[in-house]
């Protein structure tokens, strides 16, 4: 028997047909957790006490909506499965960081042509967006640094 603790948490669920609200809520919650969808009714997150708890609350909400959900800590995946899941998560985060970086650069302009001073509202939206992606970036996507630096540059431009 493997004595190692769980490394992943899988949630499987089934929602009753009808109202789309529980479906949207489930999808939004999984997105905020940074879960990787495996199939239309199954998702996976890296194991942590925090994410395990969030999966359990999600399962409870699905149950309250008349559906059924299972939360299954997983000790080990095959190398192939683990690589595929990490890659899928990383690709999504890279896209999200990339979008933030482009938006930040749009605020600051280029060296040749500086944009006008970024508005506080736009800067706050960028910083919130960054915090949101950071909270679900479980594998430290490489786009994190460039996005953060682009947002910091926009902030400095505003504070100048």
């Amino acid at each position: 028997m493997n004595e190692a603790g769980p490394k992943w948490v899988v949630v499987t669920w089934r929602l009753p047909s009808g109202s789309s609200t529980p479906r949207v809520t489930t999808w939004r919650t999984l997105r905020r957790m940074g879960a990787v969808l495996l199939t239309p009714g199954a998702a996976i997150v890296p194991f942590s006490d925090y994410l395990l708890e969030q999966c359990e609350w999600l399962a409870q909400r699905i149950g309250e909506s008349g559906g059924e959900a299972w939360v299954l800590p997983v000790t080990e995946l095959s190398e192939r499965e683990e690589t595929a899941i990490r890659e899928r998560e990383r690709t999504t985060r890279e896209q999200e960081y990339g979008t933030l970086r482009v938006q930040a650069e749009g605020l600051t302009g280029t060296r040749r042509q500086l944009a006008s001073v970024p508005s506080r509202r736009k800067l706050l939206a960028l910083e919130r967006g960054y915090s949101s992606v950071l909270a679900r970036d479980h594998f430290k996507a490489s786009g994190r640094g460039p996005a953060r630096r682009a947002i910091e540059l926009a902030r400095r431009l505003r504070e100048r």
Binding site: W57, Q60, R61
Partner: protein, 138 residues
Amino acid sequence: MRYVTREGLHVDRIATAWAIGRFVDPEATFVFVPRTKDVRGMAETPFDMRGARLSHRGERCTFEVLVEMHELSDPALGRMGLIVRGADLPYEDGMPAESPGVRAVFDALRDGPLIDEQRLSIGSQFCEALYAYCRGSD
């Protein structure tokens, strides 16, 4: 009354325990069990455990459910509930500005070398301060 919740205390369980002792049952005592325990048939009153009556409901955290269940009408508790929810659940746009800081404090409390009784004691002092802050900001 004797209350039971999951071990490895974090913000929602500590805030709920604090509110139980402060507003609902000054004689309350607390025990902590593994998350895998089934709440059915427990002699104690379970909270913030899957299947417990006093637990998350919809998008609300256990602290907010306690406030509603006992009709605690203090607006400061309502505001504190939003902060606790924001600190307890995954990042969401529109969460109170205080929530990330509160989460950082309780993350450190959970991940440090303390036992749950100590986490509850220290965390309760923090909750008392947060409550005072919420009263002051109304």
